[in-house]
């Protein structure tokens, strides 16, 4: 199972849980899976069909460029982080 | 930039007649390093730009040890410091000439232009005042002389009247056992406008380490560069030592009436007057004593 790290500001929806196991194979699947367990969480993470503005997803220490389509490994760690630019 | 007419004149009379005819809408172009920026940024309007760099008197450097220096108003800074005799006789002038802008600016900018721009922060004006230099002003009626210390009247303003312009500057001959030093304080090491500038001129008594006379001039601490009279007068008869310099610095602060602006807060400027007065006096005395 992959582990999703729940940002402090999202724990109101997860009942205080800071890490949650998930079985989805993509970010999209994980969010759908969470929405079933924690109704309302998808609205917090998504703008329509995209990750919310200013949000990025990091898988195993690397910010993914693939948004909701990003693939998640069996033992992956997943973080929702602020999007990064560069100079 | 609004367009203007351009006239390159080759005699003083030609310049005077153009300036008389066009009045405030005519402006002099010497090095152009201030005037072109002001025209471009709309801080100044001109219908006619009179280029005076073809008038021979304005480009002259005439130095005679017994008669002093006559410096044409349009002589670019680099010609001053590249002239070994002038540089040796008036090191305080060189101090300013080699720090006005970068090299590219010094290739064009003139001390005369710096004076006529009449910025309170002008680097060359304190040494001119400290050396007791005089302005030679041509005009429709006659040529007149005005001490530099009385030339500027307000930021960007001076005693020039309609039809008049600065032809040159006259420096008294260097006195034995005298020395002059100009320093400014800027946050960077070059390419900055003085937060404070101080020129100190001293003349020592023969064979004694005592100050016979001194003139301390300040920039960027009042609406015009000023002579710190009280400090200057006080130094006469005082030993040329650190204690006197520090005390003179304290007195010089009283001549400072600075404002706070982007280049520095008022109280800091006053503080710097003390520091720079002390430092320039010390250097000026060293120069006075140098063989």
């Amino acid at each position: 199972m992959a582990t999703v790290f729940v940002p402090p500001q999202l724990r109101d929806v997860t009942g205080g849980a800071d890490r949650i196991e998930a079985s989805g194979a993509t970010v999209r699947e994980v969010i759908d899976e969470f929405e079933a367990r924690f109704p309302g969480i998808a609205a917090r993470l998504l703008d329509g069909e995209h990750l919310a503005a200013g949000l990025a997803v990091s898988i195993d220490g690397t910010l993914s460029n693939r948004g909701l389509q990003a693939a998640i490994g069996k033992d992956s760690e997943l973080h929702f982080l602020p999007a990064l630019g560069g100079g | 930039m609004k367009d203007f007419e351009y006239a390159a004149v080759s005699t003083i009379d030609e310049a005077v007649s153009l300036l008389s005819a066009r009045g405030p809408m005519a402006t002099i172009l010497a090095g152009g390093t201030d005037i072109l920026v002001q025209l471009r940024e709309g801080h100044r309007q001109a219908e006619l730009v009179v280029d005076v760099k073809k008038i021979p008197e304005l480009l002259e450097i005439d130095f005679q040890p017994d008669r002093g220096l006559r410096l044409g108003a349009a002589v670019p800074c680099y010609r001053i410091y590249e002239d070994a005799a002038v540089a040796a006789a008036y090191p305080g002038l060189v101090d300013a000439a080699q720090i006005i802008g970068g090299w590219q600016i010094q290739s064009r900018a003139s001390v005369g232009g710096n004076l006529c721009n009449s910025s309170p922060a002008a680097d060359s004006i304190p040494p001119l005042i400290a050396y007791d230099a005089a302005c030679v002003i041509a005009g429709p009626e006659r040529t007149r002389r005005v001490p530099v210390a009385r030339f500027c009247t307000a930021p960007g303003k001076n005693v020039l009247r309609r039809g008049e312009f600065l032809v040159g500057l006259e420096f008294p001959p260097p006195q034995p056992r005298s020395g002059c030093r100009y320093q400014r304080f800027i946050p960077r090491n070059e390419m900055d406008i003085a937060v404070v500038g101080v020129a100190s001129w001293v003349c020592l008594r023969p064979r004694e380490n005592v100050i016979e006379a001194a003139r301390i001039a300040l920039a960027a601490v009042a609406p015009t560069p000023v002579l710190a009279t009280e400090a200057s007068d006080w130094l006469a008869g005082k030993p040329a030592n650190a204690e006197s310099f520090t005390q003179a610095g304290e007195l010089a602060k009283r001549a400072a009436r600075p404002i706070s602006d982007i280049r520095g807060p008022a109280e800091y400027r006053t503080h710097l007057v003390g520091v720079l007065t002390k430092r320039t006096l010390s250097d000026a005395v060293q120069r006075a004593l140098a063989p």
Partner: protein, 173 residues
């Protein structure tokens, strides 16, 4: 559709001044308005776009050219003032296709990154080496302080000028 704009344009044309000068050793002539700078004339009229604009008020040195052998900010010189003058721009530094030692040393020493300030530095550094065969690090820094570079931190520029000075000395020997 273009007829009316063209007519307007013709009405607008300002009075132009004729200037005869020498650029990079070749006679040159151009027309300019009195307000135009030497930088404008070099770049827009003569097509010598190697001279760069960084600030257009004499604070960055990117537009440095030699005017009668001395370095000036061409943004602070009126184009009409070039009458009868000799001007050297970055395009005139290489000789018959051979890079000047300064240019060579800038390349070998990686003394440029984005390259926009490079022409100004090369012209100013050439003026320096023309006057002073062996400038110290401090002299180089002082004389080049009218040229801003935002990429390199100046280290490699100063070293390139030092190295070019060495090579020019070797050539003389």
């Amino acid at each position: 559709m273009n007829f009316i704009p063209r007519l307007r344009e013709r009405l607008y044309v300002a009075k132009k001044l004729h200037v005869t000068t020498t650029v990079n050793g070749e006679p040159a002539e151009f027309l300019c308005e009195a307000r135009h700078s030497l930088m404008d004339a070099l770049r827009d009229t003569l097509g010598l776009t190697g001279t760069k604009e960084g600030c257009n008020n004499g604070n960055c040195g990117a537009c440095t050219v030699l005017l009668n052998g001395v370095p000036v900010d061409s943004c602070l010189v009126l184009a009409v003032e070039a009458e009868g003058a000799e001007i050297t721009t970055v395009e005139g530094i290489a000789n018959l296709g051979h890079l000047h030692p300064l240019q060579q040393c800038f390349l070998e020493g990686a003394a440029l990154q984005c390259g926009i300030c490079t022409p100004g530095f090369l012209v100013a550094a050439k003026a320096l080496l023309d006057r002073c065969a062996r400038p110290s690090e401090q002299e180089i820094r002082f004389q080049l302080s009218g040229n801003l570079c935002r990429c390199t931190g100046y280290d490699k520029i100063v070293r390139a000028v030092q190295e070019a000075a060495n090579r020019l000395q070797e050539v003389k020997r």
